[in-house]
């Protein structure tokens, strides 16, 4: 090892140590403050005891939620009505709903919104379909854990990590050279002589990126739906089978109706994730080659091209799209619980 290597290595180690020390300090400090507050407040007795405990326990959460979510959400709605371009800009003018009109009339943004709708229609349905299929299959296996883990594993992988993984699937090389991308290799082996450059070819690239999200979300669907299938009383299945229902009919007339609530919840949950994910498109194409979606466009409006007003309008559109999904979710869940 040369001298410069040693210096570099030691500076890296020093930096790492400083960072980790900072973490220990912060967590230790936080716990110590809690401990002191608890100790001091614990000396209070009598009528004041409950109000003090209530304040200590509840105020931090309320304060952080107000500061981090409630006030910012209101500010963003406010920002979406202005022509604000960068942080701390002076002389902000209110321009009414112009940012929203822009979002729905500007051709590029219009395309982006339509593409997002396409993601919303395809990804949840296919994820839930695959998840349900695997859940049904492993339900009939003697040793299901290996297959389950294999499908579930991508759930733990970040969207960025998944994008890197799938780059080795979608990699493009001239057909005359040895291939490095698995997809090209497979289609060439199947007889397609000149496969396209997958990530540059619209609209194919959008669908190929949807596959990445489906790959991640299928495991989640499988686990939740699998649990719901298990929760169907064995007697129900048993008596249905006595009546001669089996295979597809058993699935359609007994299993699906009995897990309908869970199906809807999983579907809407995946929908909400799909609406918010920007990492995949951001990492794979950065929204180029006709692949942009709402969440990525919003990020670049806010932090890259300094169009805070327009970005905020997109965030509000995202919010308005999420609200009915969540409320529907909650309603289904509450009805399910009443039945039980």
């Amino acid at each position: 090892m040369t001298a410069s290597h040693v210096v570099m290595a030691s500076s890296v180690a020093g930096q790492a140590a400083t960072t980790l020390l900072g973490v220990i300090e912060a967590v230790g400090g936080f716990v110590a403050i809690l401990f002191i507050v608890f100790y001091v407040a614990g000396r209070a007795t009598g009528r004041l005891q409950k109000p003090i405990a209530l304040i200590i326990c509840l105020v931090p959460a309320l304060f952080l939620v107000a500061l981090g979510l409630v006030i910012p959400a209101i500010t963003t709605i406010n920002n979406s009505l202005t022509n604000q371009q960068f942080l701390g800009q002076q002389k902000i003018k209110y321009i009414g709903l112009k940012n929203y009109v822009y979002a729905f009339t500007d051709p590029a943004t219009q395309q982006t919104i339509l593409r997002t709708v396409l993601w919303l229609l395809i990804v949840p349905v296919v994820s839930v379909g695959v998840g349900l299929l695997v859940a049904l299959l492993v339900d009939r296996m003697k040793h299901p854990s290996a297959a389950k883990t294999m499908v579930f594993l991508p759930t733990a992988i970040s969207f960025v990590g998944a994008s890197v993984i799938w780059r080795y699937v979608y990699d493009y090389k001239d057909p005359s050279l040895p291939q490095t991308g698995l997809l090209s290799q497979v289609v060439i082996a199947l007889g397609w002589r000149n496969p396209p450059n997958w990530m540059l070819t619209a609209p194919l690239n959008t669908f190929l990126m949807m596959v990445i999200l489906i790959w991640i979300q299928a495991g989640f669907s499988m686990v939740v739906l699998g649990a719901a299938l298990k929760a169907i009383p064995e007697e129900v299945i048993e008596s249905a089978r006595m009546d001669g229902a089996s295979g597809w009919r058993l699935f359609r007339t007994i299993q699906v109706p009995m897990i309908r609530g869970t199906l809807v919840v999983v579907l809407t949950t995946v929908m909400i994730t799909t609406l918010k994910v920007f990492d995949i498109v951001f990492t794979m194409t950065n929204g180029n080659f006709s692949t942009d979606i709402l969440a990525r466009r919003m990020f670049s409006d806010m932090f890259v091209t300094s169009q805070v007003g327009r970005g905020s309008a997109l965030a509000v559109i995202l919010f308005i799209a999420v609200v009915p999904l969540v409320f529907y979710n909650v309603r289904v869940l509450r009805r399910e619980r009443e039945i039980r």
């Binding site: 409950k50 883990t149 291939q179």
Partner: protein
């Protein structure tokens, strides 16, 4: 699946556990197993490709597909060596990811379990409203909070030009990322932990109260230890969430490479088209290995958290 439909021996009725076993046996068809394993393999191949490529020499990984490893196996640790040493590598981001994730998991646990306890066991007028309010905030996408929160970190909280809260002066530090993740996690955390804490047996609480324990003492010595299953589930959920997050890290970590977690570092490596192409595979594996280990080791708790979050509500 034609093998399932032949049902001759179902005519003889079975009961109880015997019947359950019979149903299971009839359902466990070789076809189902075959397709399940097939899908499992299909789901694993992309990750396997990255894993294999991360151990091949630069030259091989750049010019041939990872499957050629099975024809001409070559093995090299150069990629990992380069990725893990040197100041531009993944080592500092790896440390940063830990440094971001640990506080951003521990702090919300305390704050949320305290709030859950207060709502569940210290009833007061309006506690229902507060609980529902926090729960309903799950609707707010964190995207809505990014710009105003950044403004708060820099300029403090101002309403109509009047400074209500001064800036916390944590701009450019990891504390900014911890605080943001803590805020964003609270609606789910309070909801999950409250539901668990509310179901702790009343008799235990009563007994402690009769023994003269104060509310805060009950929280510290009874509620917290008894809530460990729920805390474990939430921790794994939050750990994976924060570790895998890119958006919050990008927005509040800025472009400073010494503050980047692995996800942000990885994203900029990919962005530099071709510049470090040979490092993508080992760097990618370094990015995903910690969550994979956590996931595989604690899958049971993770599943419980998932189910609590989505099925039981």
């Amino acid at each position: 699946m034609t093998t399932v439909t032949t049902s001759t021996d179902v005519a003889k009725p079975l009961h109880g556990a015997e019947a359950v076993k019979a149903v299971r046996r009839r359902f466990s068809t070789p076809m189902a197993s075959f397709f399940a394993v097939l899908i499992g393999l299909l789901w694993t191949i992309p990750t396997l490709g990255l894993f294999i490529n991360s151990f091949r020499s630069k030259q091989d990984a750049a010019t041939t597909g990872w499957w050629m490893f099975f024809v001409h196996p070559t093995f090299s640790l150069d990629g990992y060596n380069q990725v893990l040493t040197g100041s531009g590598g993944m080592l500092i981001p790896l440390v940063n990811s830990l440094a971001i994730t640990i506080p951003a998991t521990i702090i919300p646990i305390f704050i949320a379990s305290m709030a859950g306890y207060a709502i569940a066991w210290l009833p007061f007028r309006g506690s229902d409203v507060i609980f529902f309010g926090i729960f309903a905030l799950q609707v707010v996408p964190l995207q809505m909070a990014l710009v105003p929160l950044q403004q708060y970190y820099v300029h403090g909280l101002q309403i109509a030009g009047v400074t209500i809260l001064p800036s916390p002066h944590i701009n450019g530090t990891l504390a900014q990322i911890w605080l943001s993740h803590t805020m964003f996690s609270l609606p789910l955390a309070v909801f999950l932990l409250h539901n668990f804490i509310a179901q702790l047996p009343n008799s235990v609480m009563e007994a402690a109260r009769i023994d003269g324990a104060s509310h805060l003492r009950i929280f510290r010595s009874i509620v917290l230890p008894l809530s460990m299953p729920a805390i474990a589930s939430f921790s794994i959920f939050q750990f994976l969430w924060v570790w895998n997050d890119l958006l919050v890290a990008k927005v509040f970590g800025g472009s400073d490479p010494t503050m980047q977690p692995v996800t942000a570092r990885m994203q900029s490596l990919v962005g530099n088209y071709g510049a470090h192409a040979e490092l993508l595979a080992p760097a990618g594996f370094v990015t995903i290995v910690v969550p994979l280990i956590v996931f595989l080791a604690l899958q049971r708790y993770f599943v419980r958290g998932l189910l609590a979050g989505s099925v039981k509500g």
